[in-house]
Assembly symmetry: C2
Homo-oligomer: 363 residues x 2
């Protein structure tokens, strides 16, 4: 009935509470033999630490967060997720310190933010990298200084970090491919629009797509880079449609789906060409209702953010080492589940630009 506590262990072993605690939590100042004995006894007695009591008594934990304040259609949902994550741990003596980088490409700003983080003596940092290469340098620097780092939303290959939380992009691509394969009549072709061919996330999507868009003589007729530029996306969509008479499907694997939809609408092709988009924006709803978008690959940024905080907390407070790659499974959204499943993402983003470089916050 009663649960095993440090006290039980300490009386059984005739050792003080404090020593048992230190032995169990890996703090030093404990004889190696004593420690071994304590740990062994704890195991045989079935001891499990009470995280509540632990959080209540230990010193506060501080986690820094670094993210762009630009492109709020994407990042603000990661931000909401992170904040939700921290508020899940509101009572756990866990504090956060947000730092925003105004632009997606601004080396100087990132460096300033970095300095700031280092001054604050944080226990860990959550970083939402943009494409700029200075993020790679940042992570390298942090890892050199032994600052625990978690990447959120995007991976940075060849760097050292605790873990990266992001979408399972091969699955995302494969879902798009399988779905478009099913709804496209025999002989119809597809193209893929991605942001940048050099980026892991994007190429994984393309490969996943190519693998599953294969039946009924379907072919992938090209992969085009939009550079995440809506005008370019609009232009490219028009171009491929004009040049490829058998085009029946477009997979927009990046955030430019709205521009592509506008193009389809302007050309009066709704119902002739199917679109699978990525990520939810308020306009998605309209285009689904107009039957221009048939499906959306939803990669719940809020959930990703919550997970990131959980992983960092578990590591910091319990020493739990996560898998280096934590892949959040995407969902296929259609008209019938859009509103109920993606509610928060359908409201227009009203982003109050955060004070730079610091926004201290506590839970």
């Amino acid at each position: 009935m009663a649960r095993v506590t440090v006290k039980d262990i300490s009386t059984k072993l005739n050792i003080s509470l404090g020593t048992v605690s230190k032995a169990l939590s890996g703090k030093d100042g404990v004889n190696i033999e004593t420690r071994k004995l304590v740990i062994e006894t704890a195991n045989t007695m079935g001891y499990k630490v009470n995280k509540l009591a632990q959080s209540l008594s230990r010193n506060p934990l501080l986690v820094g967060v670094l993210m762009p304040s630009a492109w709020p259609e994407y990042y603000s949902f990661l931000e909401i997720g992170i904040k939700d994550g921290f508020s899940n741990f509101r009572d756990y003596n866990l504090y956060s310190l947000f730092t925003y980088v105004p632009s997606l490409f601004s080396r100087k700003e990132i460096e300033k933010a970095e300095e700031f983080i280092e001054q604050q003596n944080v226990n860990a940092v959550i970083i939402c990298p943009a494409l700029d290469p200075s993020y790679k340098q940042l992570v390298n620097k942090l890892s050199k200084r032994k600052i625990v780092t978690l990447l959120l939303g995007r991976d940075i290959p060849d760097t050292e970090y605790l873990a990266c939380v992001r979408t399972d992009s091969p699955v995302a691509g494969a879902m798009a491919g399988e779905f478009l394969d099913l709804i496209t009549p025999p002989g119809g072709d597809a193209v893929v629009l991605i942001g940048n061919k050099d980026h892991l996330d994007h190429t994984e999507r393309v490969e996943g797509f190519a693998r599953s868009f294969v039946r009924k003589g379907h072919k992938v007729k090209g992969v085009y880079e939009t550079q995440d530029d809506p005008e370019l996306a609009h232009f490219l969509a028009g171009k491929v449609i004009r040049e490829q008479p058998d085009l029946r499907a477009i997979y927009v694997a990046t955030g430019n789906s709205i521009a592509v939809c506008r193009c389809i609408e302007e050309m009066g092709l709704q119902g002739k060409i199917s679109i699978v988009a990525t990520d939810i924006y308020p306009e998605i709803r309209t285009y689904m209702e107009k039957d221009i978008i048939q499906g959306v690959i939803f990669q719940d940024q809020i959930r990703q953010g919550e997970n990131a905080v959980r992983v960092v907390f578990d590591y910091l407070s319990g020493g739990i080492i996560p898998s280096k790659s934590i892949l959040i499974q995407p969902q296929l959204i259609m008209r019938s589940n859009l509103v109920k499943t993606c509610g928060p993402y359908l409201n227009p983003v009203t982003h109050k630009t955060a004070a730079y470089p610091e926004k201290s916050e506590k839970n």
Copy 2:
């Protein structure tokens, strides 16, 4: 920086800690004026109770769970979810007491279980009702005795309870309809197989389906009851296929999809008739790979169970009154996301029949 505590309130108001606590938590033995003052001050000071400290100090909470041990393909996942839910609250001084009813239709057993629950002096009960009408009587009795009740998995109309956690079945039906509508060629018809026409969940699915399976001249050619009997489902599938030459789609809105798939396979109709199934079983994987099932409406029972525990806990510990109907959004599963999204459901169920009528458990 520092968070507001009961102590802050008590010193500010020159009242003892205990009184502040009692005033805030609604316990009696506090002058109405004092209470008002305390609550008001707490609000203006921005006080939020620390649930950790609260859980650590209050008396334990005991929640009874009543569920069938039959049909483990379904109920065992609710059970896992509930157990996961309790383990999420492992440190919160929350205990569970499981009671299993061996059969899905056994009035006597349910009554025995009920007696047992009442003896135990639980703070609340989670019930996973089967179809038998005695569950309705049970809920009525519990509500008369003011025992907090939460329904999980299935609703029981016209009864009193705290909340019901279940699938959003209109959305489930609509997703099936929209998906089959998209992948079925013009002129193809569909039928729906459900368990029982009298049950809310099932009729909601049918209506949702009918609303969205409407384009390209598609028609719903019938709704048939399988009585959740695989042999009947197999028989009915064969019958409708033979009788309806234009049948191209079947929505199996209940748990008998495997029997239907077998029928399709035996008749050599894979690729000619599309199937959307409900719920994940290990065999689903094979039939997806054989291209007999194109989609599955996944109604994550584990998540439902976790939610149920959370809702009960929030009510018991924080007085948070939930929405009466907590609808979990289903997901559309295809081949490409089956394994990663539904992993636990693909392992064969090895159900150790629980001791009856009690299995006391603590966290």
